[in-house]
């Protein structure tokens, strides 16, 4: 089961769910866009009536704040109540988003509760762009992190995400030393990270991390992307295979995970 938390502290240009980045500004732009009249503004709050929702996502398209009106609030106990009935069907739960570590208080409490009351593994997807001690605290509770490493070259990282990568590299190293990095993930983006230099550098960095951590390499896909990035080319399959081959050369085939295009 995946639980997607709203809000992100990066602005990756290739994000395929950009509506998870922002927070509602209660501007009401989404209200008239809904064909089922599931949205309304009342007392300065946005109200979402799930029963009327047709999941057409016109509200998401209309939103200027990079969020989705179809979000809702949950306490850790309420999350547990949703998880319990389906626990037999699950091996684990992954917190994702957005950047789930932005809601660290909820995340800590929810993880503690799930670990206490269920037999599920709890993982967290993170971009690692966070205060170190927050991640280390979280590392005490979750079973592991799926850690994004978007680019090694500082300039490339800045252009791609809006921020530099120094804190990310520091955090990845620290959390890896705690034995809590399950997988490092990178997306190969045409015009940014689809170079031999980048892929070798990423693979090399993962190689030098403590504990033998696998690297998952994913090709860029325009699906879900917003803005001019929608017109970016999809990764060429042969180019992608070549770059994956380079990653395997550096890291070893058993530590590189990819899906065929």
């Amino acid at each position: 089961m995946a639980v997607f938390l709203q809000g992100c502290n990066l602005r990756c240009r290739y994000c395929h769910n950009p509506e998870t980045q922002g927070f509602c500004a209660t501007c009401g732009a989404c209200v008239p866009a809904c064909p089922g009249r599931a949205l309304s503004l009342e007392d300065g709050h946005l109200r979402f009536d799930e029963a009327r929702c047709q999941a057409c996502e016109r509200c998401v398209e209309a939103c200027p704040a990079w969020t989705s009106p179809r979000t809702f609030r949950l306490t850790p106990a309420e999350l547990l109540e949703r998880v319990r009935p389906v626990e037999p069907f699950l091996d684990g739960l992954t917190f994702s988003g957005g950047e789930c570590t932005l809601q660290v208080t909820f995340l800590m409490e929810a993880t503690r509760l799930l670990k206490k009351e269920t037999r599920l593994t709890v993982l967290a997807d993170t971009n690692g762009f966070m205060e170190s001690d927050v991640l280390e605290q979280l590392a005490q509770e979750v079973d592991g992190f799926l850690f994004d490493l978007k680019a090694m070259e500082t300039g490339t990282h800045l252009r791609l995400t809006g921020e530099g990568n120094a804190p990310i590299l520091r955090n990845l190293t620290r959390v890896a030393a705690l034995g809590k990095v399950v997988e490092v993930r990178t997306v190969v983006v045409p015009g940014f990270t689809d170079t031999e230099t980048e892929i070798r550098a990423i693979a090399q960095f993962v190689r030098e991390l403590p504990r033998s951590i696998p690297l998952r390499v994913t090709p860029f896909r325009p699906h879900g992307v917003r803005g001019v990035e929608r017109d970016w080319p999809q990764m060429d399959p042969d180019r992608f295979e070549t770059l994956c081959g380079l990653a395997r050369e550096t890291l070893g085939s058993d530590r590189v995970r990819t899906a065929a295009l």
């Binding site: 009935p85 389906v86 626990e87 037999p88 069907f89 699950l90 091996d91 899906a259």
Partner: protein, 494 residues
């Protein structure tokens, strides 16, 4: 012209098809069995249905011979010695299969292949035994061309079991139908193989062995669509009750539960007993049958099945539109109807049913090709499905009512093949929640689960073009696809 002459003049039929239809025509021309006016009324109103079994049954609907006994003792009628090696065992089984009666004319139960063949496996070289097993499966598909032909595996892991799963993945035929009994001790790696096969072929069924063993003991088999019956026994007949039709025009749930349903079940019981009486006492099947004489079946291991279907539409009608799986009021009524029907059925006296304690077996009937406004058994209507886990939980609760067979079908999108562990987790979870029998597969699998039986996807196309096929169940499948939106079943992501 008489029906017989029309059949003989049909240029689309092979001679063996003409012969079968002639037999059916003769059966249909027989007078009704002696039953009361309530039974006639329920039959005319389409509430009770005998599934074209024929006016007067002369062989049990489902027969599950004890093939283990056959291999051990041989057969005088079949002129077979006890099997001493894999060749003889395979030969004996293939011979016996041609002499097992049923409603379809083909054997609906092929035995637990792993239990039967594993003792002979080690003595042959790997090349020989693999080839022999493959040809066995190929011959079953070619000479028993009927999707209700059903083999079993499990719950233990065996070489034969693994080999069958791998072969089925490669052969991708609709025949045989296949079930894997699953127990907590069934090894994960073996179950994973079964999941891999299921994703490609929608078989095997995953069967809740602990639950069914409590009901029947260890010696039960899964036969035909998904009937759970005693080995060495079977079911004399099956008559089904259309809950959707029964609810038509019914003013409220209370009238349905307290009046209509009890009346219908009484009529159902009377009709079943009349048919059983004819089979056992007038056609005297058990006196004549070599299977009974040689101890491969015995009357005291038989049951007769009372079945329901159309629950979704029944609940929809009685609640003015509430949907099972989505509306809690519908779920509550579904439970009430299912368990009330079960209790009513089990309160009836059933003749010649010592195999089920003198009571009828209770079954969720998976529909026939012509059904249009009644979902199979107790399933959620296609097009109205909720999220998978919610659906499985509801079905698990309702499935607990049925001892003689019930099943649920789940389809996954093609990415499921990259996440076998996820699918495996769902299988374990579903069975742990109380589901009794589960079919699963990919939405693009070459072999498609219609409602209880399988059909090859490309055969559906050939049937649409009116090609006359050896495997006649394809025709049923094609009709069912047209009538019941089979190909629109919800596809789940993982």
């Amino acid at each position: 012209m008489t029906p017989a002459l029309d059949i003989l003049r049909d240029a689309h039929l092979e001679p063996w098809q003409k012969r079968n239809r002639l037999a059916s025509a003769a059966e249909d021309a027989l007078p009704d069995l002696p039953v009361g006016p309530s039974v006639h009324r329920h039959l005319e109103d389409g509430i009770l249905c005998t599934l074209h079994e024929g006016q007067a049954p002369y062989r049990p609907r489902y027969v599950l011979p004890d093939y283990g006994k056959l291999l051990a003792q041989g057969s005088s009628y079949l002129d077979l010695e006890p099997a001493r090696d894999l060749f003889q065992a395979v030969n004996a089984l293939l011979t016996a299969y041609r002499f097992v009666p049923s409603i379809t004319g083909y054997p609906v139960y092929l035995g637990a292949l792993d239990t039967l063949l594993e003792p002979f496996w080690a003595a042959e070289s790997p090349d020989v035994r693999e080839r022999l097993l493959e040809l066995f499966l190929v011959q079953v598909d070619r000479t028993l061309p009927d999707a209700f032909v059903h083999a079993n595996l499990g719950p233990q892991e065996t070489h034969v079991g693994r080999a069958v799963l791998a072969l089925e993945r490669r052969l991708k035929k609709a025949v045989p139908n296949l079930s894997l009994k699953v127990a907590p001790e069934t090894p994960e790696a073996f179950l994973r193989e079964a999941v891999a096969t299921a994703l490609e072929t929608n078989k095997p069924y995953f069967v809740n062995h602990p639950d069914l063993a409590v009901l029947w003991g260890e010696d039960y088999g899964i036969a035909s669509c998904y009937n759970s019956l005693r080995i060495g026994g079977g079911s004399h007949t099956l008559v089904r009750l259309n809950l959707s039709r029964l609810a038509r025009g019914c003013p409220d749930a209370s009238t349905f539960l307290e009046q209509r349903l009890p009346e219908a079940v009484e009529a159902l019981a009377e009709l079943i007993n009349a048919r059983v009486r004819f089979l056992v006492e007038e056609s005297r099947f058990f006196e004549a049958s070599y299977l009974a004489k040689e101890g491969l079946i015995s009357l005291d291991r038989f049951t007769a099945m009372a079945a329901i279907f159309g629950l979704h539409e029944c609940v929809e009608a009685l609640t003015n539109g509430a949907q099972m799986g989505r509306d809690s009021v519908a779920d509550a009524l579904a439970r009430a109807v299912t368990f009330k029907a079960r209790d009513l059925v089990k309160a009836q006296r059933a003749i010649h049913c010592e195999g089920s304690g003198g009571r009828f077996g209770f079954h969720a009937q998976s529909g026939i090709a012509g059904d249009q406004d009644a979902s199979p058994g107790i399933r959620v209507k296609i097009g109205s499905e909720p999220d998978l886990f919610r659906q499985l939980k509801l079905q698990a609760e309702l499935q607990q009512a049925f001892d003689a067979g019930v099943s649920e079908i789940a389809l996954f999108d093609p990415t499921a093949s990259q996440n076998l562990d996820g699918v495996l987790r769902i299988v374990r979870g579903a069975l742990a929640t109380g589901l009794r029998i589960l079919s699963l597969g990919r939405s693009d699998a070459e072999v498609v689960r219609i409602s209880g039986y399988l059909v090859k996807r490309r055969d559906l196309e050939r049937a649409r073009l009116q090609e006359n096929l050896r495997e006649e169940t394809v025709t049923l499948g094609e009709e069912a696809v047209r009538n019941s939106r089979i190909l629109e079943r919800a596809v789940r992501g993982l």
